[in-house]
Structure formats: structure tokens, C-alpha cells
């Protein structure tokens, strides 16, 4: 009974402090909007504007046609049209060309007589992704061109028609936005809570609390609840932004998202509190959280598919709470998964919640040394 009153008083204090902070309330509103507007476009894996230098040794109708076709695909930007490979190479050296595409001498003639020619693609592999994707785009355009040429004479070859389930237009944003929301809640839950207790340590106010009969679990709870509530409000903001700007609404049930997010936030706030319980300065806490966030983000499957990571890295992702939230958000948003489909994820995140909060309670000492 008395503890409930103490918790209420401490929560009053936390909310007043957050409300009076000059930066925090604004940050809480701005963060989801900005991240959701900017990141989905920036973290786009569709490769556009691949700089292309073409070496046309033939200057025939065929090469002109093919060049047209390449440019009109929209993926490439023609930065140079040279008559020899040696002339084109400097463009790549100066980063003005990602790919050099070379037509052989007498291409049209050979094509007519022998039926086949070899063109060459030279890719600048400094940016591996751009080189790889650019080359494969180019290859597929040539394949398409081959097909069109042979269609009239030979029998129609087998055509592959692929369908992308759940994200029909392969819209990269539909895939990124739910993942970014998961990341947002991670930042709120983890970072803000981590900084909070340490700030009290730095100011010395925590000592005044430690010398009172406030039980440490009540004190920690008073730190957890505000960020839990803020996180859930933020999630609503995020979903609203996704709907207004991109027209995305979850195919599945919003309540399932909320249930998962509620437990996830307890887990991440627990992590933040654990970090701040063992740090003595905001700098230490910030750096530790940053270290965690980097690893969590890159091993979360948010930017790169987990299945293409090496086996050992895949094993590490099993210990990454964000991974589960990103997956769940995508499952519910795109596939409309039910609670039963995400039960395993939910259970694991419950485990994280218990684990992190236990560390926070054990790590936080009212008494030192």
C-alpha cells in the first residue's frame, strides 16, 4: 500500500521532469516522423543512378538500339560514350563511372554472320553492392534483348514469371517501415532509460533517494513505466505516420503489435536500466548503449537478410532482441500473422524482459562497497 503511494509520487516526479525537459518532448514527437520519412528512402536497396560509361567500338544500329534500351531502363546514367576502353577507364578512376560496358569491334557484322558476340562489363567493385547489382541489371537487359531478337526466328524459350507474395510490388518501403518502427522503440526504450538513472547519479540526487526507505525495485519501476508509456505512444505515432505518408496499415491485428511492443519495451527499458545501474557517468552509459545499438542494428535483419549471414552471425542474432521485433513487425504488417504465429517470438522476448530487468535490479545498489 505504502509502496504504491511511493511509486505514484515517483512517477509524478518523472513525468514532471520529462515534461520540463526542454528537448525531450520535442525529440519524442520528432523522432518517429523524421526517421519514418527519411530512412525508408535512404535505406533503399533498389539501385538507381548507376553511372555507366559505354565504349562503342562498332557504332552500328545494333549498338545504338542496345544503348537506348539500357538508358531507358531507368537504372543507369550515361556519363561517357567513348571509342576505346583506355579512354573510358579514367572515368572509373575518377569515380564518374561505376561500370564500363564495351561493345566489340564489328559487333553488328559478327552478330549477323556468327550469331553470337561477346560484350564486356567492367564493374568498379569498390562499392560492391552497386557493382553487383548494376552488373546484374545490365545482364538482364541484354538477356531481354537476346530474347527479343530470337523470338521472331526461333521457338519461344521458357519464360519465368515470378510473383512476390505479401509484398506484390516488391516495394522496399513496405519492408523497411515496419522494421524502422521496431528500431525506434528500441532507441526510446534503451537509450532514454539508460541515460536517466545515470543523470541522477551525476547530479547526486540518487543518493538522496538511496538514503530513504524507497525499495530499489519501486525506484526502478518508476524509471521503467514512463519510457514504457512513451514508447507505446510513439508506436501509435509511428503507425499513424506510416499510414498518412505511405498508406501502410498492418494486414494483421494492431492489438497483436501492441502486445508484442509492450513486452519488448519492458525488455529494452530493462537493458537501459541495467546499463545505467552499472555505469557511473552518462558518457559510459551512452557509449555502452551505442555499442549495443550498433551490433543490434546490423545483426537485426533490418538492413540485410539474416539468412544470408554466415552461420556464426546467424547464431548471434538469436541473442538480439531487435531481431525478433523486426521480424514480428514485418510478419504482422505484411503477412497478417496471428498471435499464434508469433508465439515463439513473444516467449523469447519475455525471456529477455526477465533477464535484463533482473540484471538491473541486481546491478543497482543502494549501498556501495
Amino acid at each position: 500500500m505504502n509502496n504504491i503511494r511511493i511509486l505514484r509520487l515517483l512517477l509524478e516526479k518523472e513525468f514532471k521532469q520529462i515534461g520540463r525537459d526542454s528537448l525531450m518532448p520535442r525529440l519524442i514527437v520528432l523522432m518517429p516522423v523524421i526517421q519514418l520519412i527519411i530512412l525508408p528512402f535512404a535505406a533503399n536497396f533498389e539501385m538507381k543512378n548507376v553511372n555507366l560509361a559505354i565504349v562503342d567500338n562498332d557504332r552500328s544500329v545494333v549498338t545504338a538500339q542496345l544503348t537506348d534500351k539500357i538508358i531507358s531502363s531507368g537504372y543507369f546514367r550515361l556519363t561517357a560514350l567513348e571509342s576505346s576502353y583506355e579512354n573510358a577507364l579514367p572515368f572509373m578512376e575518377n569515380n564518374n563511372a561505376d561500370i564500363i560496358f564495351e561493345y566489340p569491334l564489328a559487333m553488328e557484322k559478327d552478330l549477323g554472320q556468327e550469331g553470337s558476340v561477346t560484350v564486356s562489363i567492367t564493374a568498379n567493385a569498390v562499392n560492391g553492392t552497386k557493382a553487383g547489382l548494376g552488373s546484374s541489371y545490365l545482364a538482364s537487359i541484354i538477356r531481354q534483348y537476346n530474347l527479343e531478337q530470337t523470338l521472331s526466328t526461333a521457338t519461344a524459350p521458357v519464360q519465368i514469371k515470378s510473383t512476390h507474395l505479401f509484398n506484390h510490388h516488391l516495394d522496399y518501403k513496405a519492408y523497411m517501415v515496419p522494421g524502422i518502427m521496431a528500431f525506434l522503440l528500441t532507441l526510446i526504450g534503451g537509450f532514454l532509460s539508460a541515460l536517466n538513472i545515470v543523470a541522477e547519479k551525476e547530479k547526486g540526487t540518487i543518493e538522496q533517494i538511496n538514503v530513504t526507505p524507497v525499495p530499489k525495485s519501486i525506484f526502478l519501476l518508476s524509471k521503467l513505466v514512463p519510457f514504457w508509456i512513451i514508447g507505446l505512444i510513439l508506436l501509435a505515432f509511428g503507425m499513424l505516420t506510416a499510414w498518412v505518408i505511405y498508406g501502410f496499415v498492418p494486414v494483421g491485428n494492431i492489438l497483436t503489435i501492441y502486445l508484442f511492443a509492450a513486452i519488448y519495451l519492458i525488455a529494452l527499458t530493462g537493458l537501459g536500466l541495467a546499463v545505467s545501474a552499472i555505469s557511473t557517468t552518462q558518457q559510459q552509459a551512452m557509449f555502452t548503449m551505442f555499442f549495443c545499438a550498433m551490433i543490434f542494428a546490423l545483426l537485426s535483419g533490418l538492413f540485410t537478410p539474416i539468412s544470408s549471414m554466415p552461420q556464426w552471425a546467424q547464431t548471434i542474432t538469436l541473442f538480439n532482441p531487435i531481431r525478433y521485433f523486426v521480424e514480428v513487425m514485418r510478419m504482422i504488417y505484411l503477412k497478417g500473422s496471428y498471435l499464434t504465429d508469433i508465439a515463439d517470438h513473444l516467449l523469447i522476448v519475455c525471456g529477455f524482459a526477465v533477464f535484463f530487468n533482473a540484471i538491473a535490479i541486481l546491478g543497482y545498489r543502494k549501498k556501495r562497497g
Binding site: 503511494r5 514532471k16 520540463r20 543518493e207 538514503v211 526507505p213 556501495r368
Partner: protein, 244 residues
Amino acid sequence: MNVIEADKLTKRFGNFTAVDKISFEVKKGEIFGFLGANGAGKTTAMRILCGLSQPTSGQARVAGFDIYKGTEQIKRHIGYMSQKFSLYGDLKVWENIRLFGGIYGLSDKQLKEKTDEMLFTLQMEDRRDALVDSLPLGWKQKLAFSVAVVHDPQIVFLDEPTGGVDPVTRRQFWELIYQAAERGITVFVTTHYMDEAEYCDRVSIMVDGRIDALDSPKALKRKFNSSSMDEVFYSLARKAQRGE
């Protein structure tokens, strides 16, 4: 009746003995001055008595509770004002009183009465809604003391409460201490100001982690054949081996 009893209390940090087998008693209602140069071990000893630090060895009872087993009970019966100012600067004056009073179990009605009474005594009625950060240091210190005794504890521990405060405010601060003592609150105070030592009922002087002298200021002056506490302190403290 003794409210604090310490017996060979010791605190070591590695090889360094911060507090070296100190033994003393503090009587109920007393104003007990805890003197010593910087680094003599005053703050460490006080933190042990408040339950903020675990002693290495020795025994002590505070407000009747054992400092090993009863720290949480001790915390219900003491008030503490640390060296570092530690009210919430981003909370208003009344909000700080409400928070700390409420933590010790004062009801809303009691809190309201206490707040009115306190602000009247401090002549800060018009600052009820001011953020604590906006107050001058002297006012903050007086407020912090009043908050530390808002729940009428048995003992209040003050760690250099008047550091950096002007003489007039220091005088007012000591009036608050006397008022608290009249209400039966035992005051345990560390200070560097020897004029303040004269205000205490009894004084202990720590040198290098040990208590080298403990008596009333009058008796100490007689014993050391000095005219002021300042001289008493100096003749003891200059023996110190530890630097700052």
C-alpha cells in the same frame, strides 16, 4: 539514551584505511559535531551510519537498528543532507517537499500542513512554485535541511551543510538546526567552520581515520589549553600524515 553507538567501526578501500576503529556514542537530542580535515574519513563514517556504505568491520547501531541487518529500518528514522546539493532542481519547491515527505509516508493532509509551516519558517511562501534550481544557494541549503527533517526523523545527518554559504545565512541555518534539536531531533553534523563547532553540544575530531578527541567544546579547549576551537583543531590536525 544513545541514538548512535559505534564500536571499532572500520572501513578499508584496498590498502587504504579510511575509517580506523572509531568508537563513540551520540545521545538523543544532542547536536554532535563531527570535525576533521579533508580526507580524515568524516564523510565515509557518515555514509556508513546512513546505510549508504558497508563497513569492513566493527559494530554500530543507529536509531536502535544494526547497521548490517537493519539498514532499511534505519532509513525510516533518519534524515540526510549530502555534501552535494541533492534536491531535484527541475522540480518546484512544493514538489520536492511533497516527494520526500510522501516517501516517508506523510499523508496528503500532513504534507500540506508541513509545506505551509516550512515555507512560513523559511520565509519562502512566495517561492512555493519556483523551480529549486532558480533559488540562491543559501536558500537551497535551508530548504534541503528542512526537507531532510520533514518526517521528524530521530537523527539528521548533515554533511558540510554550510559549505559556500554566506555568514548571515549560516547563522540562519544554525537557528534551523537548534529548532530541530528542540523538537528532539538528534543532529549529527560535519563542518570545517570552527565557529560552528562552538555551537555543538559535543564535538569529535577525526585525524587520519581515527577519533583523536571527543568532548564538549568547553572541555576540549580546557584540555588543549586553547582559547578557541580553532586552536584545538589546529593542534590536532597538524599531526595528520595524510595529505589531501
